[in-house]
Amino acid sequence: MGRKTLSAALLATTMLTVVGCSGGGTPNANETAVAPLNPNGVSGTITVLTNRTDLVQNGTMKKYAAQFNKTYPEVKVEFEAMTDYEGEVKIRMNTENYGDVLLIPASVAKGDYPKFFAPLGATPTMKETYRFTDKTDVDGRTYGIATFGTANGFVYNKALWKRAGITDWPTSPREFLDDLEAIKEKTGATPYYTNFKDGWPLSSPWTNSIGSVSCDSQASDKLSAVEKPWQKGSDLNVIDTLLHDIVHEKLSEKDPSTTNWEASKTLLAKGEIGSMLLGSWAITQLRDAAEKAGENPDDIGFMPFPHQSDGQFCATLVSDYQMAVNIHSDHKPAARAWIDWFTEKSGYSAQEGAVSALKSEAMPSTLEDYVDNDVKLVERSEAKTAEVNAIDNASEIGLSKQDYRQKLVDVARGAQDGSLQDYLDDLDRRWAEAARTAGS
């Protein structure tokens, strides 16, 4: 059979490949997904994709759907929860079947939003009602509404810090390190926990702090134009130097390579860990952990990044996942009705202790400490996120990925060669190089 069959197989393969590659026409792109005026007029089954497997499993989401059905009796809401949300949805987005309502995956380039999602409204009007609209604004139209926003800062165990004799928030990185040192000496607890193995606690909380240092809402956008993001005094320099110093001065856990996020919550609640840099969304989870461990949930405190501008603490306020409507959805009004109801009526963000996407809502109780101590919340602009991400991906640094900070931690504890300055210089060099190529 040899040659003839082989060529036939190759031909078939090629044809199938070509067929596999084409396919999928452009959908009717421009119609805005508007919520219906008459709730009884919409019907259909909508599928909502979510990353909250926990809320789907314990029935919380079902309860929301039942509430929703009181207003919209004809709409049936189904949930699909995914543990590896990013990975799975990214692949499904190559088809038309990615739910009716979904959370916009981080890997989708902003410029591609109009190809995947139905617009939700003109940005100028959306801006009046919602926070974080600039994150999904493409050419004057908004494609997503945030599930909630989080403020950034250190979760810490108040009781433990008090035992170490610290009552005031540290105002500079040096002071913060001294406090950690005091905790280590006086209480024997692990002053800081990196969660190195799980990785994400090294990526998003630290990168989200860009802006907390300079108190600048444009801090993230400016990365698209700056030549050396890690130069002295810059946000990234201060942030990464602090992480380096924490690890270098042995103020973090002994063996970072086998950390465990779930366990770390209990350890912090019990006062065996002093602090972790996270978002305010984590406060409710840690309070739960404290309750389960038989500790006082009020001991879980939240402090801003140890840096002051003009005598004032700043903390960035950033959007979590944004909900969007699939452009291929057959039930766009129902999908939009769900998003609006979920944002306005469900009480989801309050339940999570997070900042609502609605401008009219007050700050949640978890941020009481911030409000009382006059921490300035900086709602960080995401207008140039597309450009920043393009450079970031081209440079393969990964500001929102764990790898480069894992290496930073390795350098800090001497597991890999190099010094902090060399490493930051190298990052600067790679960034500058990528900025040149990605711009063209």
């Binding site: 987005m93 193995k197 597991a415």
Partner: protein, 325 residues
Amino acid sequence: MTRTTTSTAAPPPAPAAAPDPGGRRTRRSATRPRTWRDHPLRRVTPWLFLLVPLALLVTFTYVPVGNMIYYSFTDWDGVSPDRDHVGADNYVQLFTRPELFRVFAVSLYYLAASVAQIAIALWFATVLSFDLRFRNLFKGILFFPYLINGVAIGFVFLYFFQDGGTLDSILSFLGLGGDHAWLGDPESANTSLAGVSVWRFTGLNFVLFLGAIQSVPGELYEAAQLDGATRWQQFRHIIAPSIRPVLSLSVILAISGSLSVFEIPYIMTGGATGTSTFVIQTVKLAFQFNKTGLASACAVVLLLIILLITWIQRRLVPDEKVDLV
């Protein structure tokens, strides 16, 4: 079978993939030479049987590979509906960035480990091929790790190597210290991970070797024993030659395996602390930095490297027909 039919295809034109070898065909074509042409269905029949497996093979193997090769010539980011052809750009980039190949150094740990693994498997296979008490129990114990899912193994050993975990407890119980961050620095982390891989795959090699050894007819051992051959001589002159093909297969598997290690380091360290391998790096390029084009090129290059090494290995150690009797 297929080869003989192509080479002798000239005289009777029809039998492209005749199911029967030589004898019967000549007899039939002698008596009724035209039947093959009269019944085109008979020519098609073998292909009808092959239709389903071939369709599966093409759909799930060749089309994805074809797609991957196609992606490697584009700048696709993995999500966007648009992609541009960039020619050999990805390959040029790949070969002008030496740091992308540096991760192959990590494979050396696994290569060294697989040498140990083959030796251990061979030793156990030889020992257990003789009549031994609890033989089947030992066979089971050795093969068992291979049956466990790689992800589960990753988690089990994560606790095993944890600071103050199983390994540390055992060591301190034996008074050997036991305060070592096993996954803490590149050298110890890679050694530990390679050790896990040995633990996992020894069973597979062991079973392959054992099968080969047991396929040696028993009379040979008897005859050897009658001639007064020692166990070592039996191994040297009966077992070793008879398992050569399997041994060379194991070597190929070991080399390609060490070049494409993925599961265990990805689950246990995620490629941190200098444990990143070529495949982990490829996955990160594709799914973290959205460079699906470049990552596809990496995958194609890895495939070519493995094919090349296999080819060289086959040239160096040709597969001779072993005839013991």
